[in-house]
């Protein structure tokens, strides 16, 4: 039944990934909690948190791909929305500490006490409620994206100009959040969380649940993205990506479409950030670092932009590589990472999934040629080709 319904909105590959994610969401916690540590199928808590972190990155990558891969808006500042979502969650977790902080102040977080703040700043109110924080997780990045996008898309800021000002946005936020006076804990950020929704944040079971929630949210994101991409809206977006002015001459208010996905994407990034914070245990301004946002772009490119699954593969693979290399070759791992990016762009212009796609297409072509004269190339909505953008002349 459910698969039936899924298939009407998601293609086979998407459905497979959703099923895989749901399976992971169930099996990984089970393996971690129920199997004895000696079992070969036991997944240690360390891995649970690690993969959970990768999956939040994957969610960010899916969000980024929605605007970049399908609508051609290259954001070099998506880390900002991720971090804002993270801060909203961090503020909730901070308030949950209550009187268990080092200064035992029932209301004020520790950093406010030692900076001698007398009362909670207004923007911290409400964050003691989970529902409010959860709302803010999507609302704050969403509103910022809406305001920013409304200004930028209406003035038709496009291409590298847009990319650079998204970078300016995240850089400005980085500097702002570094300031102690902002009331977000300065460079140390928010940390030392105790519990979430009443559960001890360090308990294995909580970690497993957070992991499951993350996997389910990624599955949801895959579904939402597929839904958008396969709808007429998705076709409009691809149209905007490939020939923006044509779209306008067809009567589409391109700015509104852009604004719509841009805001949705920012909200998804915010959710990713909110899931990230309890799993890594800290949120601080370095998440606003422009380099982080660029890295997210790289995940998408490595996996294959303009596909829904590519970003997930890219995010998990690059971060797994980072985890592995930083431990295996701590002194020279940057060479490996740098080389990876160069090789991917040179030899896999459509990312890993693109490689798979073109390999499959070639194979299908060969089979078809054997069979008969060869049918016309059929469109595959899931791996839409990206025409080379025309260089500004």
């Amino acid at each position: 039944m459910i698969t039936q319904w899924l298939f009407t909105h998601v293609d086979r590959r998407g459905a497979f990934v959703i099923a895989l994610l749901v399976a992971i969401a169930v099996l990984v916690p089970l393996s971690n909690l129920l199997l004895p540590a000696t079992s070969p199928f036991h997944i240690p808590t360390y891995l649970v948190s690690l993969i959970g972190k990768y999956l939040t990155y994957a969610l960010l990558a899916v969000a980024l791909d929605l605007v970049w891969g399908f609508c051609g808006i290259l954001s070099l500042g998506h880390g900002a929305f991720f971090a804002l979502g993270g801060y909203a969650m961090g503020m909730y977790l901070m308030r949950q500490i209550g009187p268990r902080g080092v200064y035992a102040d029932p209301v004020l977080p520790d950093f406010m006490v030692f900076l001698n703040w007398k009362e909670l700043p207004w923007f911290w109110h409400g964050f003691n409620h989970f529902w409010f924080a959860a709302l803010m997780v999507v609302l704050v990045p969403g509103l910022l994206a809406f305001a920013f996008g409304w200004l930028a898309f209406r003035s038709r800021v496009t291409g590298v100009y847009l990319s650079i000002i998204t970078q300016a946005l995240t850089y400005a936020l980085l500097l702002a959040f570094f300031r102690n006076d902002m009331g977000f804990g300065g460079n140390n950020g928010l940390t030392d969380f105790k519990d979430i929704l009443g559960y001890n944040i360090q308990a294995d079971s909580t970690r497993s649940m957070l992991f499951a929630a993350t996997a389910l949210f990624v599955a949801l994101a895959v579904f939402v993205t597929s839904f958008i991409v396969r709808s007429k809206l998705g076709k409009v977006l691809v149209g905007v990506r490939d020939a923006e002015s044509r779209m306008r001459f067809l009567g589409y208010r391109v700015d509104r479409y852009k604004l719509f996905v841009w805001t949705i994407s920012a909200m998804m990034a915010g959710i990713a950030g909110a899931l990230y914070v309890p799993q890594v245990g800290i949120i601080n301004p370095s998440e606003f670092e422009p380099a982080n946002s660029i890295e997210a772009v790289i995940w998408v490119a490595v996996g294959g932009r303009g596909t829904i699954i590519g970003p997930i593969i890219g995010a998990v693979l690059v971060n797994f590589g980072k985890t592995y290399f930083t431990a295996a070759f701590p002194e020279i791992w940057l060479f490996a990472l740098g080389a990876l990016f160069i090789i991917v762009t040179l030899f896999l212009p459509k990312g890993i999934l693109g490689l798979y796609g073109s390999w499959k297409a070639r194979w299908a072509e060969r089979v078809a040629r054997k069979r008969d004269g060869g049918p016309p190339p059929v469109a595959d909505a899931n791996s839409t080709q990206i025409p080379e953008p025309q260089a500004a002349e």
């Binding site: 400005a172 953008p389 002349e393």
Partner: protein, 541 residues
């Protein structure tokens, strides 16, 4: 204060004696002086202080050179026999001379001797003491520093001595300085009101910022002296306000020229060629490291050429960064034309590799790039202090800009570059070897980033992270100015620099920077293609 006063009394006596009795005779014999010199190596600063005052009391002419050596940290004490000697580092030993007789002594191994410690307070005291000793010196530089020393101490006791010196002074500038010092001394004395008011006039007529410092303590005084001081402070303050504006503009231009230098190479690789070159900062860094290597070689083989090290480093940095740029273009970027966003990923990878390469090669820490003497120090322009290094960087940035314009507008290479970037197919069908021009253009942009690195090595630290600090600012400048337009880059850099400096005083450096970023974001809404946008049909083809 007590001690310096004492010193001045002594100095006064001393100089009176030297004036009357003629100079340069040895006033005391070595046997008397030696224990006093030995005493400089006391156990603590207080003992050294006492030894200095004892030495000054002897009014022996050798004292000032001994004290100078002490202040410069050239006086050592042997650990074994506690003899004090003048030492000069020579490998693992000190070349030693006797402080009194200037006779050569046996070299002392480094771990057998200890430097006689001086701290800032001692150095100040010594300067003041020597100031008293040298106010009548026949070397103008010594008289000047003596007057400066008195200006700092403002000791009323020195007024008679100053009067004497002023009468004898022939150099106009030094005389003015002495008069200022005298006025300062009068203000801190118990002189009658009219003398003080005259001193206030004297003090406030000068251009020195010190005037405010001299007058501020009098602000609270009642009566005519206080009134005069308050009036003088008022007028100085209004003058300062004007100069503050000028300072903001000048400092803004200086910051702007740093931004221009950092961005101008990017204006070519990104602005002209359309390559989102994230490795641009690393080209700057490589230029800075080239400067370091050049200086290392010069230090090792021809120290006399050190002042010319930057001039030698300029072409070297251009060639090194340019060559790396050509290699990158030939090896990677040429496969990515027409895919500007992909170049972002590849060049990001390149930047990681280059950073790590430099880190593996030179180490992760800062390396030391020295300032040649003509880059060091500062000069006063009215109430504004501008350092030579900043001034040269302004000049340098503008020259780089001018030369680049010439290359692009007047040379065959420039013509071809413009042809290729405007219409590649047409250019190649006219017989221009476009791949070659591409490589050279990228090399030119990288090379210019390299020479920017030479300049930035003078004001910033040279580490593998150097480039990362400039990359975002550079992109902001190019985009703000308008991609593909060098004049836009110039104007963009300068206006961002000046905006930053006007925001900094009242918003603080951090908020100022944030505000500038927000302004850029808002500005781009108004002019989506930067300050100098290309208009017409071509842009959205």
């Amino acid at each position: 204060m007590q001690f310096t006063r004492l010193l001045f009394v002594l100095a006064l006596m001393l100089s009176a004696v030297t004036c009357v009795g003629g100079a340069n005779a040895q006033n005391v014999d070595d046997a008397t002086l030696r224990p006093l010199v030995q005493a400089l190596a006391g156990d603590n600063f207080d003992e050294t202080t006492k030894a200095i005052s004892d030495l000054v009391k002897t009014d022996d002419p050798r004292v000032s050179s001994i004290l100078n050596a002490l202040s410069a940290g050239d006086l050592y004490v042997a650990k074994a026999d506690k003899t004090v000697f003048l030492g000069k580092r020579d490998g693992s030993a000190y070349a030693a001379t006797d402080p009194l007789t200037a006779a050569k002594l046996d070299p002392v191994p480094r771990d057998a001797a200890e430097k006689i410690k001086v701290n800032n307070r001692l150095r100040r005291d010594i300067a003041a003491a020597i100031g008293g000793l040298t106010l009548m010196s026949d070397k103008p530089a010594e008289r000047r520093s003596a007057a400066e020393a008195i200006l700092k101490t403002r000791d009323p006791e020195s007024i008679p001595l100053l009067d004497q010196a002023i009468a004898a002074e022939s150099d106009k500038d030094i005389k003015a300085l002495m008069q200022l010092a005298r006025a300062a001394a009068v203000l801190s004395s118990t002189a009658p009101d009219d003398a003080k008011i005259a001193a206030i006039a004297e003090v406030s007529s000068g251009n020195s910022r010190d005037a405010l410092g001299l007058l501020t303590p009098l602000q609270g005084v009642d009566g005519p002296v206080g009134d005069a001081a308050r009036a003088a402070i008022g007028s100085i303050n209004s003058k300062l306000a004007l100069w503050n504006g000028i300072q903001n503009i000048v400092y803004g231009l200086s910051l702007g020229s740093v931004l221009l230098l950092a961005a101008i190479g990017l204006a070519i690789t990104f602005g002209v060629m359309g390559v989102i070159n994230m490795a641009h900062g690393e080209m700057v860094m490589i230029g800075a490291y080239t400067t370091f290597v050049v200086q290392q070689i010069i230090r090792a083989s021809a120290p006399g050429l050190f002042d010319y090290s930057l001039l030698i480093a300029l072409p070297a940095a251009f060639l090194v960064s340019g060559a790396i740029g050509v290699v990158i273009e030939r090896g990677i970027i040429r496969f990515l034309y027409g895919r500007p966003l992909e170049t972002l990923l590849a060049t990001w990878g390149i930047s990681l590799v280059l950073q790590q390469a430099i880190r593996s090669w030179f180490g992760a820490s800062n390396v030391q790039v020295g300032n040649p003497s003509w880059m060091a120090g500062s000069f006063d322009l009215g109430l504004l202090t501008l350092t030579w290094s900043r001034l040269w960087i302004i000049v340098f940035a503008l020259s780089v800009f001018a030369v680049l314009q010439l290359v692009l507008k007047k040379t065959m290479l420039g013509l071809r570059m413009r042809a290729v970037t405007q219409n590649r197919r047409m250019a190649s069908s006219m017989g221009i070897r476009t791949p070659w021009v591409d490589a050279l253009t990228f090399g030119l942009g990288s090379g210019i980033a390299g020479i920017a690195g030479v300049a930035l090595s003078q004001i910033d630290n040279v580490s593998p992270n150097l480039g990362q600090g400039y990359i975002i600012d550079s992109f902001m400048v190019v985009v703000f100015g308008g991609v593909g337009n060098l004049w836009g880059t110039l104007l963009g850099a300068m206006s961002l620099g000046i905006a930053n400096k006007f925001l900094e005083p009242f918003a603080g450096a951090v908020l100022g920077k944030i505000l500038v970023l927000v302004l850029i974001i808002l500005f781009i809404q108004k002019r989506p293609r930067g300050l100098f946008a290309l208009k017409g049909r071509a842009i959205e083809a």
